[in-house]
Symmetry: C2
Subunit: 87 residues, 2 copies
């Protein structure tokens, strides 16, 4: 969906510019965490995942595939579900 | 899935600690963007979305619902698909 909505803009902006936007959105999420405004917080979560998807699109990464490849129903470090890592 | 795998750890670490981890993972993604290592890059994308999900879990936000509530098949700013914002 993000590719359909925004790829024409994301691809013009490029990798570095899109990463910088992601970083800014993460900072805004950090600010929203300090408030009691649940709607604003949900908005910032949405923006972070949206910009992460935009960045994946411009770097030609399949975000869903990359995520499920690493986190495939068990912890990638200890191999258990739930995670039983001791560190 | 992230709740099942990690909530016992995430909830102990808390909101601030989990946000700090997310920030570190975003930095690592930024480093991976500078390399040609596609597998490492995919790994870092996976880690960022994983830690974003962990943070959503400890703040009691439904990440999917929050995302689709804001980005519901059209740009939340201009209302078009694809986005036709002019700024």
């Amino acid at each position: 969906m993000m590719r359909r909505l925004y790829f024409h803009r994301d691809s013009k902006r490029g990798v570095a510019g899109t990463f910088n936007w992601l970083v800014d959105e993460v900072k805004e999420l950090g600010e929203a965490l300090k408030t009691e405004d649940k709607e604003a917080l949900e908005n910032e979560f949405a923006d972070v995942i949206a910009w992460l998807a935009s960045l994946a699109n411009v770097t030609n990464v399949d975000l869903e595939k990359a995520s499920l490849n690493k986190y495939d129903n068990k912890c990638p470090k200890c191999g258990h579900s739930p995670c039983q890592c001791t560190f």
